[in-house]
């Protein structure tokens, strides 16, 4: 439980790991765009090939990708069935009177499922190869130009950093509170869903109160360590855009371009 962070990072030394987080964020955005540009199932081969290439280069075990898909399996099944029912088509495979199973529907269901799988797998590639801190740094730097519109890029990144830092701490805390309430006879396991949700209140309220106290103490500690906002702040680890980053972006753009060419030619 204690090791859960937002997205699981697997430390490594691969080319992908060493890429600038900004590059990886840009790559993911382009990749998502690719999966949405595809309108026919066989063109999915291009984003799929891109994902496989990234996976091989990163040295991440396929197991992690499969694990990242587990939480969405219900959604996948749901989407698959929904599309079977609501896609109309000519090519009837099975006629039950009230509903026809058509070839087009099966194709559409597979298409949607593949798109979701590719989207989630691509997003997990980003979090698997990028440490949460690098990710927040990357987001801060990418959003920095928006500062001229008074967008709080630094504050947002600092909030994310602190949130990530306190996930395991608050997990521990909620365990403690849960045990304390259970030792006083609180029942978290029986009853219907509404009862169970209601039984979470004795955990959530103390957790909430203690978070405020933590926030207060942390603010004092940060102030004591000369924190005075993002102005004039430097970073120990500088983000560097290197040759490899340019190369990665170019390869991604190449995939994108070939997909667009294919879409135009094979319309």
């Amino acid at each position: 439980m204690r090791d859960i962070t937002l997205g699981q990072f697997v430390a490594g030394n691969s080319v992908i790991h060493k890429l600038d987080p900004r590059t990886k964020i840009a790559m993911m955005i382009l990749y998502i765009a690719m999966t949405f540009l595809v309108k026919r199932i066989y063109f999915m081969a291009i984003p799929f090939a891109y994902l496989v290439l990234e996976l091989i280069l990163s040295g991440i075990s396929l197991r992690y990708i499969v694990n990242s898909l587990k939480p969405i399996r219900i959604l996948l099944i749901f989407m698959f069935i929904l599309n079977l029912f609501f896609t109309s088509g000519e090519n009837v495979w099975l006629d039950l009177g009230f509903w026809k199973l058509t070839g087009e529907a099966v194709l559409q269901s597979c298409f949607i499922s593949i798109r979701i799988i590719l989207l989630v797998a691509g997003a997990s590639m980003l979090t698997l190869t990028t440490s949460p801190i690098a990710l927040t740094d990357g987001i801060e730097k990418l959003l920095a130009p928006l500062k001229i519109f008074r967008f709080p890029a630094h504050e947002l990144a600092m909030m994310m950093t602190i949130a990530l830092r306190f996930v395991p701490t608050l997990m521990d805390e909620s365990d403690k509170i849960r045990n304390a309430q259970m030792s006083r006879g609180a029942d978290f396991e029986s009853g219907n869903i509404f009862k169970r949700v209601k039984s979470m209140i004795p955990i959530l309220i103390p957790l909430f109160v203690s978070s405020f106290r933590k926030a207060d103490e942390l603010a004092i500690a940060m102030e004591s360590r000369c924190y005075h906002g993002g102005e004039g702040r430097t970073r120990m680890k500088q983000l560097k855009f290197r040759k490899e980053d340019l190369f990665a972006i170019l390869i991604t753009l190449l995939f994108m371009a070939s997909l667009i060419v294919l879409l135009i030619v094979l319309k």
């Binding site: 204690r2 962070t5 440490s131 949460p132 801190i133 950093t161 602190i162 990530l164 830092r165 395991p168 701490t169 521990d172 106290r213 933590k214 103490e217 942390l218 004092i220 500690a221 940060m222 102030e223 004591s224 360590r225 000369c226 924190y227 005075h228 004039g232 702040r233 430097t234 970073r235 120990m236 680890k237 500088q238």
Partner: protein, 272 residues
């Protein structure tokens, strides 16, 4: 040098002031312990040093700079580093070295110098091997040493520990104390706020507080002669001192310098 000049402080909605007309001078390089029971005002006093609290009356100056002047605060906070009670609530980032870098990053120090300061600070607290660990995998004592490393990276002259050992287990407390003593030996001024009298034995000076006032100050051997005042302030003298006092009452000729078990046994052995 830190000077408290007749400071009074009252929390909002409090009936009596937390600090009442307190004056104290702390010399450079001194190791000073502020002891007192809950509500004696010892933490309130400590929080005045770097301007986290501002006195209602009187003034606090650090190297001649008044904490009431807003422009001084950043400079004062570089001079005075402060560690707090809960080790979990003072670490800002997930990774040890990133957290140590937090202070110098705030000051706008160049990246290469931050790197150097972080390495030095981690070395000073003996945590170099943990540089890339996640902070939540560390023990309480280790977290507290990281918190101190984070302060050292600011290159302060004064280290204030506001009950920094209160939430640690005995081994964590010993770890922290030996780190602090080492820093003091290297010339750091240390101000330690604590309830544990046995931590104060090696200090240069002990300040005993009660009800927002200083009731006793002196070297450890002087302070531990006044067991009655300590007990009135709800403080328990170290065990060795209690043993020494009862032996003295029984007629053994022991000096007031015996403050811990070793010193006591040194004086006792020739008598046996």
């Amino acid at each position: 040098m830190i000077r408290f000049d007749n400071i009074t402080y009252q929390y909002e909605n409090a009936l009596s002031p937390a600090l009442a007309d307190v004056s104290l001078e702390i010399q450079d390089g001194e190791f000073i312990a502020i002891v007192g029971h809950n509500g004696s005002g010892k933490s309130t006093l400590a929080k005045h040093i770097n301007g986290l609290l501002l006195p209602s009356k009187g003034s606090v100056t650090v190297n001649g700079m008044d904490t009431k002047v807003e422009d001084n605060l950043l400079k004062i906070r570089q001079i005075v580093g402060m560690a707090f009670q809960n080790p979990d609530n003072q670490l800002v980032t997930t990774i040890v070295e990133e957290d140590v870098a937090f202070g110098p990053e705030n000051l706008g120090v160049t990246p290469s110098e931050i790197r150097q300061r972080v390495d030095e600070a981690l070395h000073a607290v003996g945590m170099t091997d943990y540089a890339e660990f996640a902070v939540h995998h560390l023990s309480g004592g280790q977290k507290q040493r990281i918190a101190i490393a984070g302060i050292l990276a600011l290159k302060p002259q004064v280290l204030v520990l506001d009950e920094a050992s209160a939430m640690l287990d005995p081994s964590g407390r010993a770890e922290l104390l030996s780190t602090v003593k080492q820093l003091h030996d290297q010339g750091m001024t240390v101000l330690m706020v604590t309830q544990y009298m046995d931590e104060t034995v090696d200090c240069d000076r002990i300040v005993v507080m009660k009800g927002g006032k200083i009731v006793l100050t002196g070297t450890p051997s002087e302070v531990f002669q006044h067991t009655d005042i300590l007990l009135q302030s709800n403080l328990v003298p170290p065990e060795a001192v209690a043993v020494r006092d009862s032996l003295k009452a029984m007629g053994y000729p022991l000096s007031d310098r015996a403050l811990n078990a070793e010193q006591l046994s040194e004086e006792l052995c020739p008598l046996l």
